[in-house]
């Protein structure tokens, strides 16, 4: 029994291997955080911009927005990453794995957040628009001061959940050689013939994302649709 446990820890929690590859995993953590940050900021900003454009109600533009949004909601993120990374070199563009992953997941987050923001904007009662416009506020002022603040409240829970789900996708970067956590852990594992780095990597993901998930649960109860 003791022997089994010793063999288990030797294989999966090998202190020497872990010590050796800890710096690699940590550098992977940094890359994951950078990637996640870029995805969240650009993806949500682009999604909000599209939703605002859509509220202008210009027919052909709206169709274009809906098609783009539907496209990135339909395609698996990994397919988008692979397409950008392996496809674009054929036309002379060679985005790095990092840039490919960033762009792909930012597009996906843009699509989902546009849909969420749009749902939030349209869910605000028409009377709110009318009251604001009747006091002389312009379309833009009404949108900014009256409609968006109410829409945001409704969008926060679904947006946090979606953002977490998409940001976790940074692990997909491994497939296109991004040196984020999973990439570092995998190569450390094949170099050391030992799975301990993978366990470390898994732990690193939990340390990064578990608090976010717990916070999201709290936000969800706090901002639950009241009515």
């Amino acid at each position: 029994m003791r022997g089994d446990w010793a063999r288990f820890t030797d294989t999966f929690l090998n202190a020497k291997v872990m010590h050796k590859y800890l710096p690699d995993i940590l550098s992977g953590v940094v890359v994951t955080i950078e990637l996640a940050f870029l995805i969240v900021v650009t993806g949500i900003a682009a999604g909000l911009a599209l939703a605002l454009l859509r509220s202008l109600a210009i027919r052909p533009l709206n169709w274009l927005i809906v098609v783009i949004v539907d496209l990135f909601r339909s395609l698996p993120p990994l397919v988008v990453i692979v397409l950008i990374y392996f496809g674009l070199p054929s036309v002379g563009l060679s985005p790095s794995g990092f840039v490919s992953t960033w762009l792909s997941l930012a597009f996906v987050l843009m699509a989902f957040s546009e849909e969420i923001f749009w749902a939030g904007i349209t869910s605000v009662d028409r009377g709110q628009w009318e009251a604001a416009r009747s006091t002389g506020l312009s379309f833009g002022q009404t949108l900014m001061s009256v409609v968006l603040p109410q829409a945001f409240r409704l969008t926060i829970p679904p947006l946090t959940n979606r953002t977490i789900a998409i940001t976790k996708g940074t692990a997909l970067g491994t497939v296109v050689a991004v040196t984020e956590i999973l990439g570092q852990a995998s190569s450390a594992m094949s170099n050391s013939y030992n799975p301990s780095p993978l366990i470390m990597g898994a732990a690193a993901y939990l340390v990064l994302f578990f608090p976010v998930v717990v916070a999201a649960r709290w936000v969800e109860t706090k901002f639950a649709w009241k009515r």
């Binding site: 539907d70 339909s74 698996p76 392996f86 692990a171 999973l182 898994a202 649960r217």
Partner: protein, 220 residues
Amino acid sequence: MIQSFFNPEIIVASWPIVRAGLLNTVLLSLLVVPLGLVGGLMLALLASVKHPVVRWPLMAWVDFFRAFPPLVLLILLFAGLPFAGLELGGFVCVAIAFFLNTGAYYGEILRAGIDSVPAGQIEAARSTGLSRLQAIAYVVLPQAVRNVLPDLLSNTLEVVKLTSLGSVVAVPELLYQARQAQSLTYNPTPLVVAAIVYFLMLWPVVRLLSRLENRALAGR
């Protein structure tokens, strides 16, 4: 541009390979969606026992998988377990990973659905002599599922998209096959074809979801 992204000869040549992948993606989805639903139903039924001894570990379980990237879970099973002498193969690993990961998501959705059914429904059912389990199965669950149908559908869409992870552990699904064809032909056309296939397959679902979500908002 057309030559590199939508080369007709390559489409024709690689189509049998891509088609086989499509078939496997459909089969894989038909396996992992019910698997995830079963896992989710188990979690949701457990959660309907409101006792803290059940509640907290359950919440931790669900949050664990919400925090854990599914690809990491898959690699852990596929590349980590062999060190413990357990070589499961890509297909089985995908099945287990999906059971755990998507089960947690389905579980959370179904739990919310069950919570949305008024307590009076169970009381009414119990008052007519149904057992607790019967009351849940015949009275609560049907209403719960209807209340969260858009969320269930949305998650199912994500699960189908997630089957593309199988390509990382050599399960010959659509993306894997397209990449094989790409490396055989030195041309990204098969990848584009795979993307179009995904889009054509899933776009109707996305449209339907948009409708359902808008109707849910309008109904408030």
